[in-house]
Symmetry: D2
Subunit: 278 residues, 4 copies
């Protein structure tokens, strides 16, 4: 597995600074918006920047809004192939999006439509060798934040992925969402490594499970999630991809960037200390 | 268009009798369970029986229960290729199933799972040149007969068909369900003929729309549905397939079979009288 | 059917002039490179231009080179969604490419690779409601113009389309290629209208069939192809799309543009005179 | 990896005897025709027989002839779902077929048709959780045994698999075919484990590469193939499936069954001795 870092949890750090410092703090991958670097450095310049700083791009966010109208979807889809082409040039093999656990739409129709649109997205990504990771979202409060329940479990997400029916679609497994949906390390062991496109880690406060808030996460090793068991299970099934920190908090952390780097590094060192990494 | 007949509305008529009498009453197609004939006549004998009586098989019912457990689905699926092979040998090109407008399952998951299973069904049928027709079901009382709404409109059924993503899947358009979902002749004109796999006709009682019962249908031309407009719209978009009578009633009609044949013929003659048929 | 015109056969006419004059000479559709108009008039301006001159876009050419290296393919594919989005905005529903009847590559591998790439193209077009038409190419001299035979018949093209397995892929039926592959009007009647994405007409010189040259075509009604029978067969199966003139010649015709328009109009009037058109 | 055994190389041993003795000689899997056992023991009885003798079914042969006419294909396809259902019940997850490196058909058409048929096969298997393994065939003499070259390399087989476009299709990697196509251990390391459905081992005589005959194989460790390197590469990429012995010879070996078992065991022990197995 490769340790990855994102801006979520590092305060107001720029994309470029993230790239420049990641290796120093023990991270081999960055989850970034590559467009920002390409605007400044060009495509070839961005590739060199990544190489010079010995990091790969772990995953990019999906730049297409697939949850709203057809008109918005079709317009935004026009740029996806360019994004995929750039990502592919930079060696990135993964693009991720999340699935909210509730919806104001009628769920049956919304599911069918989501399947159609995510398939179109996956087809374009596939032409560039990029996989699409779908992140199930676990916190209980979000399950009732919209009118109707949608899906929030791994089982249902895998069924949705079967519905999409493209071989380059898989799971984004986030430790926080595993925790809030009670998807255990043993459950992870029932997956095959190739079903997992990307992994997020972070930690949860010691509050009752149904009060864990999506936007109130801790750094790895600072909370109650058994992250070593989580990582060991991923290791056991042969997952060799990126594991990226994503710390969503109500407010941006006020510590200095270097303190946040150190905190992140310390957390990763702790939870990975008994796991072999690449 | 080809006039078709089924046992639903003809009392206790046998499958073979349906075949033997259809042409005499003006019908060129029968919707039947071909297994019953094959058991008695063999496959080649059934083909000859159909030819001798100048009727084709309009559509067969899907012999796979796709709405329950995986175990039931997988077991029943084993027989589908044989059914499809037989149907294909008999010249039948269509197999139909219906989609209930409500469900006790969580609708999002149920949609994803239905898409996966109907795709597997469609793939097998496709190997034998047979299309899968999905019948949306309109009556209002059924929309609340189970816990959660599923889908009941043409638009949603087309989205589901997009989700299934097999080119041999389309609509079964039933006049009763068009009537109860207020899908008009002008709406039909927005469809392309190849989106329609099969058509049912029957008529509705003169009661408020939300009190029309699924199981209380009338013979064509005996109720309030504008069937000539319905048929003309199908004709206008180039639909050349079968239009089969399907009369669901609380109890089997008590009239003699010959009276029921005549009543069916009269209804068809009336609603088709200004429409050219093949 | 809708009469369509292209620049091929009208000398040095500009795209805009083609649009402005088409209706005057009886054509309801133009096959053009829409980018040229969009560069001058913007997207909305191009839509108005087409509307003001009462023509639709019959088909656009595929802007992706899918016959060469992966690198070229992937780079060119990046622009397809934008092209499709524009075409869709302009009301165009069809995009076409041709398949050469021979290849220097090993045919089995080349077929598999072509299937993969054309599927990726079709998936992108499908997100914008645009179909992909594949033109089989008949002239005998081209069948040996490269090392190995590839495909040139309708039957093989349909098998390839099955291989691609996207419901928005169909045939471009060119009268010249039907003639040179001896695909008759009766053969056309075995097709279903929805299998045909687009149609080309033009005529052939009175030379032995195996000496008909791809690049030496005549205007409709000036040669030996029975175009009325060809069109009648398309009409009989319910084809209601565009039929575009495409005259490939060794040198650009030297007549004035207005003479070439009149010659095209005369040819269409002649071959369509007993066929009802929209 | 799990050591597997088949009848090919064990003389006239029966299927049941193979099952009964495999574990004794160190094999954890058998590649068999399960129908033979089911005929004798019933489905549940066969499951017990396998369990009692501590072996799993490594892979079954594809019971559908997909290389001949449509009529033969469609007829044989009718039984596939039953076979898949049985295999699934018995815990088998793989079904394999081979691809000849030459063909009397025109290769382009044959490839498109093979893609269509293998997709239909894969769709049925997928409904039962079974993968389809495609075996590329390397010996030089077979490349010219029919009129036209088809495919024989891993690269081309992977392109064909992309063409088939079903996520449950992958490679059967046979050491003999790797050797004869010069697909090295380092080349195997470029594959992902999930691309490999099944593995065969056997050994080759010390003759020039282009004179290695398909039907003249040796037992593992008796020839010139570097099987330890082959197995180590599979181990390195995380392949955890079955590796089955398949010894094709001009005549059935004349040694006693027990000698052939011992010879097989000795070969496996030798080539696996530095590889950890499950």
């Amino acid at each position: 597995m490769i340790k990855g870092i994102s801006q979520a949890g590092l305060g107001s750090i720029s994309t470029e600074e993230l790239v420049r410092s990641a290796r120093k703090y023990g991270f081999g991958a960055v989850d970034i918006n590559t467009d920002i670097l390409i605007a400044d450095h060009g495509l070839e310049g961005t590739r060199r920047l990544l190489e010079d700083h010995h990091v790969i791009v772990g995953s990019i966010g999906l730049p297409v809004e697939w949850r709203q109208t057809d008109a918005i979807f079709r317009e935004q889809l026009t740029s996806l192939a360019v994004t995929a082409y750039h990502a592919s040039f930079l060696g990135c093999k993964s693009c991720c999006t999340y699935i909210l656990p509730a919806t104001d739409e009628l769920p049956a129709t919304y599911m069918a439509q989501s399947i159609v649109r995510l398939r179109q997205i996956a087809s374009i990504l596939d032409a560039y060798g990029i996989r699409l990771g779908l992140e199930f979202v676990g916190p209980h409060h979000l399950r009732t934040a919209w009118k109707h329940p949608f899906i929030h479990t791994v089982a249902d997400t895998l069924t949705m992925i079967d519905g999409i029916d493209r071989s380059n679609v898989g799971l984004l497994v986030d430790a926080y969402h595993c925790y809030t949906t009670e998807f255990t390390a043993d459950d992870i062991r029932q997956l095959r490594a190739e079903q997992i496109v990307h992994v997020h880690i972070n930690d949860a406060k010691d509050v009752p499970l149904d009060q864990v808030l999506d936007n109130d996460r801790l750094y790895p090793a600072e909370g109650v999630i058994d992250l070593p068991a989580f990582l060991q299970a991923l290791q056991d099934i042969g997952y060799t991809g990126v594991v990226t920190q994503e710390i969503l908090t109500p407010e941006s952390p006020s510590d200095s960037t270097s303190l946040l780097w150190e905190r992140s590094q310390r957390g990763f060192d702790h939870v990975f200390r008994n796991i072999s990494t690449l």
